[in-house]
């Protein structure tokens, strides 16, 4: 028991930068199961965990719509992952489309992919490279942070 805590503290002392996104599978808004590898970007993939009831998420989505259009020619693929449960099933599709989202949106209704990617809050944004390595992890959203996220995408595209 004590050793487990010690191991945790030891591991927790590191700042991890690289972890891979496994090839998870989720249903899309058309009720079809798709895998991450099927829809990921050729260059970068931006994964946004959100929910219809999450106010900061709803605020951030129009900014991602703008970025999705801006980076269309840079092989950057945006993916939205809604953690709404069955209770909000009916609302997710019309809601996200009314915000102008055209990128793929998947449903993680039991939060299992969220847990696997070590995400503990929404919104959380991940930027992943073509080798599935997580290069950037951003939790929460406040006005103005879209500039920071956009600069990070530009920086990663230049590398």
């Amino acid at each position: 028991m004590k050793y487990l805590l010690l191991l945790t503290l030891f591991l927790g002392g590191f700042e991890s930068e690289i972890n891979e996104v496994p090839n998870f599978r989720l249903k899309n808004l058309e009720n079809r199961t798709v895998s991450y590898n099927q829809i990921k970007g050729k260059n970068l993939t931006v994964i946004d965990f959100w929910a219809t009831w999450c106010k900061p998420c709803v605020k951030s989505i129009p900014e991602f719509v703008k970025m999705d259009e801006e980076f269309e020619d840079s092989d950057v693929q945006f993916i939205g992952i809604s953690i709404d449960g069955p209770r909000n099933k009916a609302k997710v599709k019309p809601f996200i489309r009314s915000l102008g989202v055209e990128y793929p949106v998947l449903r993680d209704s039991d939060s299992s992919v969220m847990a696997r990617l070590r995400v503990t809050a929404v919104p959380t944004l991940l930027i992943v490279n073509a080798d599935n390595e997580i290069l950037y992890f951003h939790e929460g959203y406040k006005s103005g942070e879209e500039v920071k996220i956009k600069n990070k995408i530009l920086e990663l595209l230049e590398e």
């Binding site: 991890s16 599978r25 009831w53 102008g100």
Partner: protein, 506 residues
């Protein structure tokens, strides 16, 4: 013996890691929470607790392993535990997935089976005050096959009764129901999916099995309409009879969007449909899920013995960032007596400038199951950014209602102010007050009954050290009560004292 098995499993993982040539990764999360304080009004006024949750993942090629360990320590030795609460082996390729151990699965809309996890949440048991992760998983085996034209799932597992803590004895009581399920979904074309589920349940002290089935469909109609529905029933019941003595659940809906406009309409009808002794299904409640504290606490939990109702929602997003949401929900259940729940909700967001947003809501409800009449809730939230690094949010909410047998109107107040810097530092002060008699009275002073308004004042600080580590500190009083996250409702207990949480990803 059990711990030895897990240690052997961990050693095996490490052995595989060291000898394998395939690319592998070992990663995880850890949440440590320390509380110094107590539940208000409790006699034991300085109960100090520490809770730790470690999640370890190991991926190699198509294989993955997962384990979770939880530890809880208090001065009350009977409540202490160290348990491996989850473990999973998984194999997955492009079409096939096998899971052995603890996993999550929701069939259809959850009418027959729903499991879930609320990541990062720590639940406190009201009776033993033991703290543990809040999830309802399945333990057993599941495999699924995904083809272009169809999907198949097979499950044999036991669902967790998550109101019992991990150290509850005997352990078998925590997983009382054996569930065997088969689901097939077919895609005749891109517009239509149709499927069915068969589920068989064996509950304790019952040698017979109960069987249920469902029909599920999802149709993309022209002009951005989507139609979906699920009808589930006990196989001993009359099909589509909709009689009150039968066991069935019907959930259906339609949604639509065009440009910046979206809308949805849903219908539910449940009768005698709480499954198993653990209640492992979760028919949708069809009441809007609110995150505003005054409304989140007032949510309606459906009574699956007898309930039907509708929910409609409309939203519109304006080009300049403004938006409006309108929701109507009506539900009625007839357990002992007829109880109606009716709610009207309107929310508007006004983007004053790129750096300044105002949000407001108004909600009116008559909630007979809770004996609340003319419940009015209003709120105003101002969100102001300063450059790209500073942000100030002011949140004011008020609620009032009449309650049967109470001479005066009841009032609830919520206010918070939060400031964030560089998205790594966040400070917040939260003040709440209520005149609810059930909360103002101190049960320890019986027969005296306190009626003065009760208040809570708390302070939160969050520091994200880097992308892997964060530290959160709460000091003060925190109001408890029912809370809903991701559609899952549970009870949070009051707390008074200091709480430190350290979250680590590695």
């Amino acid at each position: 013996m059990k711990k030895f098995t897990y240690l052997l499993l961990l050693s095996s993982i490490l052995a595989i890691v060291s000898i394998s040539e395939l690319k592998a990764q070992l990663y995880g999360t850890n949440t440590f929470e320390f509380q110094y304080g107590n539940l208000p009004f409790e006699e034991d006024s300085d109960l100090t607790t520490s809770y730790n949750q470690l999640n370890l993942y190991y991926d190699q090629g198509n294989f993955s392993l997962f384990g979770r360990a939880e530890q809880f320590l208090t001065p009350v030795s009977e409540a202490n535990y160290f348990e491996f609460t989850q473990k999973r082996f998984q194999f997955q390729d492009d079409t096939f997935r096998l899971r052995v151990g603890n996993f999550y699965e929701t069939l259809g809309s959850g009418l027959l089976l729903r499991s879930y996890e609320i990541p990062g949440s720590v639940y406190e048991d009201e009776f033993s005050r033991t703290r543990y992760a809040f999830f309802r998983d399945l333990e057993g085996v599941a495999f699924d096959i995904n083809l272009d034209w169809a999907e198949f799932k097979a499950i044999r597992s036991e669902a967790l009764q998550n109101l019992l803590p991990p150290n509850f004895e005997p352990d078998s009581v925590r997983r009382p129901d054996l569930i065997e399920a088969l689901q097939a979904t077919f895609y005749p074309n891109d517009m239509v999916s149709i499927g069915g589920t068969l589920i068989r349940v064996n509950t304790p002290n019952n040698s017979d099995f109960s069987s249920y089935a469902s029909i599920i469909t999802n149709i993309q109609l022209p002009a951005n309409f989507q139609l979906f529905g699920e009808y589930a029933f006990n196989t001993d019941s009359e099909l589509f009879s909709f009689k009150t003595d039968q066991s069935y659940a019907l959930y259906s809906g339609v949604n639509y969007y065009k440009g910046s406009f979206g809308g949805s309409f849903e219908y539910k009808n449940y009768s005698n449909f709480r499954l198993g002794s653990s209640g492992f299904n979760d028919p949708p409640s069809l009441i809007k899920e609110h995150t505003y504290p005054v409304l989140n606490r007032s949510t309606h939990v459906p009574n699956t013995s007898s309930e039907h109702g509708v929910q409609a929602e409309l939203f519109y997003s304006f080009d300049d960032g403004h938006s409006i949401v309108a929701n109507y929900a009506y539900t009625v259940n007839e357990v002992f007596r007829r109880n109606e729940y009716r709610e009207y909700f309107l929310e508007g967001t006004f983007k004053v400038t790129d750096q300044f947003t105002l949000k407001s809501f108004v909600d009116f409800a008559n909630d007979e199951p809770k004996l609340h009449k003319n419940r009015i809730s209003v709120g105003l939230i101002s969100d102001k950014g300063f450059g790209n690094s500073k942000n100030l949010i002011l949140d004011l909410q008020y609620q009032t209602y009449e309650e049967s047998f109470q001479p005066k109107k009841i009032e609830n107040y919520f206010s918070s102010i939060s400031f964030s810097l560089n998205s790594s530092l966040n400070f917040a002060a939260i003040f709440e007050a209520t005149t609810e008699p059930g909360l103002t009275d101190n049960p320890n002073t019986f027969p005296r009954i306190e009626t003065d308004p009760r208040t809570w004042l708390g302070f939160n600080a969050l520091y994200r050290v880097n992308t892997s580590n964060s530290i959160a500190l709460f000091v003060g009083k925190r109001r408890g009560g029912p809370a809903c996250t991701s559609g899952i409702c549970y009870e949070i207990l009051d707390f008074e004292g200091a709480e430190l949480r350290v979250t680590t990803r590695f």
